[in-house]
Amino acid sequence: MQAAAAARPPGCGPAWLDDARHQALRAFMERGLPDTREELWKYTALRALQQQAYAPCDEDAASRSVADDLLRLDGCAGPRAVFVNGTFRVDLSRLDNLPEGLTLQPLSEAMQRQSEPLRFLLAARADEDEDGLTLLNRALAADGLIVRVADGVRASQPLHVVHVGASAGSAVGWHLRDLIELGEGASLAVVEHHVGDDASGHLANLVRGVTLRANAHLDWTVVQRASRNTTLLRRTDCVLHDHAELDFHALELGGKLARHELRVDLAGARARFASRGAFVLDGRQHADSEVLVTHRGRDTLSDSLWRGVAGDRARGVVHGRILVQPGADGSDGGFYNKNLLLSPTAEIDTRPALEIYADEVKANHGATVGQLDENVLFYLRSRGIPLDTARRMLVRAFCAVTLDGIQPASLREFCETLLAEQLPETEA
């Protein structure tokens, strides 16, 4: 990636931060971008990124105008944090009147005002399993969101986080680092929303750390409708302590290449993770959903249900891995994935994997790839429903289980509409 090589880590910070950034950049230069020899990147090649030059940031991100319609999302009338081309926009955000106990700060601001408390996060040594992108993010992340919910605080309205890819005239990249921490018994709902106008090309590299203290509950919904010119790379590391719960929903519709590596560490006893996700792709879109769950605490639960739909020449990847560590006795993990191919040139690779090193564990997985049932299509058509509509109905029905749990209902309905509108081009 030429842009990365040319990029300078955001400077002018405290010495420890600049050091950490330089170190990360050197490590990245040595390591390079992930390639398909790496297990978790087997089916997702980043070759195209090497051929395209992305400016390391959008200089005018702070002043780009963004239509309010683009930001709006049904069911999200409360607090809102908006990033445009990777830059926090206070003018577009709604962060006044936050409930007591919920604090929210853009990383850029925190680094300027009081960077010391962030030292543990930004100068921490890289983990072994960090890939080139994460290193690059360490070196270059200039903004992000720091969200904290105090012990016992239950935020009533969802926090709407919008990432806008706005046309910048030429291709731009950005790197964001988020930190979300819920105190003991706290609860929060986050709606992560990716939108964009069809633009000059965007590369977004997002790295998030999520910590749920004992008995905390996070409900997280991703509505991804980035522009078709966007390469969206996300990695999220979640740690759940005793009895903590994470409910994750994802509807992935946009992007040229959209990947999310969701790592969930069920560290505490009885921690629970549930995920429901779907991608619906057409054209030459590529989506990669990696859900990597580690059961470490006793009696931990994980339950994932994913649906993939690909038409035209689209390519989908689903990788669900359940790792049960020694000592995580009594754990119960499940990963179920069904996929639908709408054209002979579409492809979906699904790999569920179980690794179990504990006793009295229940772990299950299942994965299928199929096509729309011709008999069902004919039945619908024989009742007067045109082929396109019939396909849409069936795709919607196929994905419905992944949307059912989305809260509030107005957001769920909106997601259902988005999904119906997305339907891939039909082929004979």
């Binding site: 049932d373 011709e374 008999n375 069902v376 004919f378 039945y379 619908l380 058509r381 024989s382 009742r383 007067g384 429903i385 045109p386 082929l387 509509t389 109905m393 069936l394 919607r396 029905a397 196929f398 419905a400 289980v401």
Partner: protein
């Protein structure tokens, strides 16, 4: 209304219909009987436009238009309805939602105003009452987990809502209990009018006691080998299909 001439059709490379001719005029009810494997369902599928059913010879016109050129949904909008011998289950698609989508798609194709949800519910409630349909079935996914008889009733219920001009009932009576059989027959009789026609495929004389046909045809080995009035069904019941074969070998070749 419907005119089939010298129809030849293949399924999976095998010729099933071998020169079938049949004409049904407006307002007529035609019963089609015949041994298992004769091609009765094949005829229904060819008329409804099922992919994979290849017509190799012959013509079918519906209201003077070439039916074989139309997509299945266009045939439906033109007023053709097939009650399937084996209705499929459609998990995840709500029965009421489906039926409204179907009705409105047909109305739209015909240039008629679409029904809003109030108007549609009113219509559905009326039909539920008339057909003795179990309302619960409407809130479930289409045919999913329905009993055999419930599936058949659902087919006839759809017919009552969609009000086709030509309805083909493929063994809709099989698997129905006696009360359901009567209700289905009443549903058909209620729709009978000078503008509508029916092709009723059945193995049993009993249905024809309730839906008295204008004509009865025997379909054997891909052709109509015998036609008559309602009394033909009674003869068949008494003598079996061998009797037709023995009696009319020459016609069977025609």
């Amino acid at each position: 209304m419907l005119k089939i001439e010298n129809l030849h059709a293949r399924v999976a490379g095998k010729e099933i219909l071998k020169g079938l001719s049949l004409e049904a005029k407006s307002g007529e009810v035609h019963a089609i009987m015949g041994p298992n494997g004769a091609g009765k369902s094949t005829l229904g599928n060819v008329l409804a436009g099922r992919p994979g059913y290849e017509v190799t010879q012959g013509t079918v016109t519906f209201d003077g238009n070439n039916l074989l050129e139309m997509e299945p949904e266009v045939r439906a909008a033109a007023g053709l309805f097939l009650a399937f011998q084996y209705p499929v289950e459609i998990p995840g698609v709500n029965n009421t939602y489906f039926l409204r989508a179907a009705l409105n798609a047909q109305r739209k194709a015909r240039g008629a105003e679409e029904l809003d949800s109030m108007q549609f519910l009113k219509l559905v409630r009326e039909r539920v009452k008339e057909m003795g349909m179990t309302p619960d079935l409407l809130n479930r996914a289409v045919n999913e987990g329905f009993s055999g008889g419930e599936k058949k009733r659902n087919e006839v219920f759809q017919m009552a809502v969609l009000e086709p001009r030509l309805a083909i009932l493929d063994e809709t009576d099989s698997g129905l209990d006696i009360d359901a059989l009567k209700q289905v027959a009443e549903g058909v009789n209620r729709l009978r009018s000078p503008e509508r026609s029916f092709l009723v495929i059945t193995h049993y004389q009993r249905l024809l006691d309730y839906i008295v046909p204008d004509f009865v045809h025997v379909l054997a080995d891909g052709c109509i080998v015998e036609s008559g009035d309602a009394t033909l069904a009674k003869e068949l019941e008494a003598h079996g299909y061998a009797w037709v074969r023995d009696r009319t070998p020459a016609e069977a070749q025609a």
